[in-house]
C-alpha cells in the first residue's frame, strides 16, 4: 500500500458519491496525480483495487486522457500551446527557444527533473499569444518572448 490514507478515503468517497466505481476511476487518477505529480503503476493498481475495477480498465482511461501522466514529470510542467493563434504570433520561435534553453523536446523532462515540456492544444490564451500554462496550478503566461521565458524559468529555478 503506497497511497496515503487520505487519498484512499478520498477515492472511496468519490466512488460512493459520484456514480460508482466506473465514474470514480478518472477522478481517482486525477487525485493521485494531484498528490504525486503523475500516476505510477503501483498507484494505479492500488486505486483499481479500491474501486474493484481491473487494471486494464484503469489503464484504458489513464491512457486516453492526455493530462493523466503515466510517466514521471518534472517539478514544473510547461504546457505550451501549439494552436494556430499562438503560431501566428511566433509561438514556434518561443517553442524553439524554450527547447534550446532546456535542452529537451516535447514530452521530455530535463535530466535534473526540474521541467517537463508538453505541447497542448489551445490553452484559451489566444489574447496572450503565444501562451502557455505552467505548473501544477496551470497558471496562464503570455505573450511569451525569449526574455519572458528566461524570467519564468529563472524564477522557477530559485
Amino acid at each position: 500500500m503506497t497511497l496515503s490514507t487520505d487519498l484512499r478515503s478520498a477515492i472511496t468517497h468519490v466512488m460512493d458519491h459520484h456514480g460508482g466505481p466506473r465514474a470514480a476511476m478518472l477522478e481517482s487518477l486525477r487525485m493521485i496525480q494531484q498528490a504525486h505529480g503523475w500516476v505510477c503503476d503501483a498507484h494505479l493498481e492500488e486505486a483499481a483495487d479500491i474501486l474493484g475495477v481491473s487494471n486494464a480498465e484503469m489503464e484504458d482511461i489513464a491512457t486516453f486522457y492526455s493530462l493523466i501522466f503515466r510517466q514521471p514529470v518534472g517539478e514544473r510542467l510547461i504546457l505550451m500551446c501549439d494552436g494556430a493563434s499562438c503560431y501566428l504570433n511566433g509561438g514556434e520561435d518561443v517553442r524553439d527557444a524554450v527547447m534550446a534553453r532546456l535542452g529537451i523536446g516535447f514530452g521530455q523532462t530535463t535530466p535534473d527533473g526540474k521541467y517537463t515540456l508538453i505541447n497542448i492544444c489551445c490553452v484559451g490564451g489566444c489574447d496572450h499569444a503565444p501562451a502557455a500554462v505552467i505548473g501544477r496550478d496551470r497558471k496562464l503566461v503570455g505573450p511569451l518572448t525569449a526574455d519572458l521565458i528566461d524570467e519564468i524559468l529563472g524564477e522557477a529555478a530559485k
Binding site: G19, R22, A23, A24, M25, L26, E27, L29, R30, D60, I61, F64, Y65, S66, L67, I68, L79, D82, G83, A84, S85, Y87, L88, N89, G90, D93, I120, C121, C122, V123, G124, G125, C126, D127, H128, A129, V133, D137, R138, K139
Partner: protein, 436 residues
C-alpha cells in the same frame, strides 16, 4: 454599459469573481428567485424560445428547441434524475471566450444553470471544465458553494419546491470531451468516444437518463432573458438571432481579446476593436468561428457575424472567436497546425478521422516544407470530399477539421500548387517567417 454587455459588463478587468453578496448587489439571483416562484418550467422555456437564443458552443442549435425534447419529471421510462450539463471544455483553437465567463462571472453561470435545469426538468447540474482552466474550476466551485449556502441550490430552492444539485467536474484533457455525447461518456468514467444520435441525450443521456448539454455562454444568457424578457434579449442583436455574443479576435491583430457585441456585428468592426490587422496590416483571410470554421476573405468583412449569415457566406460561425491572417501569414501553415491538432485529438473511434487526419497532417507539413507533390493535393481534395460531409464520421470533429482544409483548398488552390511548384512557401519567401 451593462445593458449592452449583459454577459461581460459586470466582469472585473482582472477577472476577480464577485462574492455572492457583491453579485446580489449587482442584481444577481433576482431572476432565479422570481423565475422559480412565478414562472412554470414551460414559461421559462417559452421565454428562451421567444428570445431566439442559439447555442453558443458551435452548432448554433436553438436552445429552447433542444430543451423541448426533455421529458417532464417522472415521464421518462427508467428511474433516476434528468441532468443538465454545462459544457466548459473550451479547447477549440482560437477559442477563449468561455474562460472569461467562467473565471470572472461564475455566479452568472450558476444562475443561468439553475433556471435552465428548471426549464428542462433536471435535478442535477454538472459543469464540466477543462483541466487547464484551474481558476475557472476554483471560481465556479466557490460560487456553487455560496449559492448552496444561500439556498439557491439544494432541496426546495428558496421555497420554490424545486430541488437541484450542482457540481463541477474537471476534465482530464482531450478536445473531444467537448463534444456533447463524448462529454457524457467522460462523465460516466469512460473514454470520451461520442455516441450515436439518435438516441439524443434528451432521450438517453448521462447514465441513460434524459440530459441536456449547453455551452457556458448559452447558459450564461438565460438569467438575463428571464430577468429582462425575450423582447429585450432579441433587441440586443442586430440580426434575427437573439442577444449579444462574446466574440474573440486573435491571430494577426494588434490587440487580441474578447469583445461582447451585438449578435451580427460584422467582422470588420471587431477587427477594428482589436486594434486592426497587425503584421503587414493587410488582411489575407480569417476564420470567423475558431479552428473548425472555413476561411473567409476580405470581401466578407461586412458579413454580419451570426450563425445564419456566416453559413450563407460559406463558413461557420462556430464559437464566434475569429482567427485573423494578414498577408504575411501563410494559410497552409495555419491549416497544417489545425490538422495536426485535430489528428491528435481524434478519439480513435472511426476510421476517416483516426487514420485519415494524420495522413492529411503529414501532407500539409510536407507541403509547407516545400517537399509536397501534386498527387498529395489529390489526397487532400479526396479526403475533404469523402470525409467532410456530415454523417461520414461518427461525430463532427472530422467535418470541422475539413472546413479549413476544404475552404483553404478552394480559396488558395493556387497557393497550394505554388508550394509544390516552387518547392517552398512563397509567402515565407516574400515576407520571411516572422511573427507579427
Amino acid at each position: 454599459m451593462t445593458e449592452h454587455k449583459p454577459l461581460t459588463g459586470r466582469a472585473r478587468p482582472d477577472r476577480r469573481p464577485h462574492s455572492l453578496d457583491e453579485w446580489r448587489k449587482l442584481g444577481g439571483y433576482a431572476a432565479v428567485e422570481r423565475g422559480l416562484k412565478t414562472l412554470s418550467p414551460e414559461q421559462v422555456l417559452d421565454m428562451v424560445d421567444d428570445a431566439n437564443l442559439n447555442g453558443r458552443g458551435g452548432a448554433g442549435f436553438p436552445a429552447a428547441k433542444k430543451w423541448r425534447f426533455m421529458p417532464k419529471s417522472g415521464q421518462s421510462p427508467g428511474d433516476g434524475p434528468s441532468y443538465f450539463i454545462v459544457n466548459g471544455d473550451e479547447m477549440e483553437p482560437g477559442a477563449f471566450k468561455d474562460r472569461v465567463l467562467l473565471e470572472a462571472v461564475p455566479h452568472q453561470l450558476v444562475e443561468g444553470a439553475i433556471l435552465s435545469a428548471y426549464a428542462t426538468h433536471s435535478s442535477e447540474i454538472i459543469v464540466l471544465i477543462r483541466d487547464a482552466y484551474r481558476d475557472a474550476i476554483a471560481n465556479v466551485t466557490r460560487a456553487i458553494a455560496e449559492a448552496e449556502a444561500a439556498g439557491y441550490l439544494g432541496r426546495n430552492v428558496r421555497g420554490s419546491g424545486f430541488d437541484v444539485k450542482m457540481w463541477v467536474h474537471p476534465s482530464a484533457g482531450r478536445y473531444i470531451v467537448g463534444e456533447e455525447t463524448a462529454l457524457i461518456e467522460a462523465l460516466e468514467g469512460k473514454r470520451a468516444v461520442p455516441r450515436k444520435r439518435p438516441p439524443f441525450p434528451a432521450q438517453s443521456g448521462l447514465w441513460g437518463r434524459p440530459t441536456t448539454v449547453n455551452n457556458v455562454e448559452t447558459v450564461s444568457c438565460v438569467s438575463h432573458i428571464v430577468a429582462n424578457g425575450a423582447q429585450w434579449f432579441r433587441a440586443l442583436s442586430c440580426t434575427e438571432e437573439g442577444g449579444t455574443k462574446v466574440f474573440g479576435v486573435s491571430g494577426r491583430v494588434n490587440r487580441p481579446g474578447i469583445f461582447e457585441a451585438p449578435m451580427g456585428t460584422p467582422a470588420g468592426e471587431l477587427i477594428e476593436q482589436a486594434g486592426g490587422v497587425s503584421g503587414t496590416g493587410v488582411l489575407r483571410c480569417f476564420q470567423p468561428g475558431g479552428g473548425a470554421s472555413g476561411f473567409l476573405g476580405p470581401d466578407a468583412l461586412d458579413v454580419p457575424l451570426d450563425f445564419g449569415h456566416v453559413a450563407k457566406a460559406g463558413s461557420m460561425f462556430g464559437t464566434g472567436t475569429m482567427i485573423v491572417l494578414d498577408q504575411s501569414a501563410c494559410p497552409l501553415a495555419v491549416i497544417a497546425r489545425h490538422m495536426a491538432f485535430y489528428a491528435r485529438e481524434s478519439c480513435g473511434w472511426c476510421t476517416p478521422c483516426r487514420d485519415g487526419l494524420p495522413w492529411v497532417a503529414q501532407i500539409m507539413f510536407r507541403l509547407e516544407r516545400g517537399e509536397g507533390r501534386m498527387e498529395d493535393l489529390d489526397v487532400l481534395r479526396e479526403t475533404v470530399a469523402i470525409a467532410g460531409p456530415r454523417g461520414r464520421t461518427f461525430c463532427d470533429l472530422m467535418g470541422g477539421a475539413m472546413a479549413p482544409l476544404g475552404t483553404g483548398l478552394a480559396r488558395f488552390g493556387d497557393l497550394f500548387e505554388a508550394h509544390v511548384r516552387e518547392g517552398c512557401c512563397p509567402i515565407a519567401r516574400q515576407y520571411g517567417r516572422t511573427a507579427a
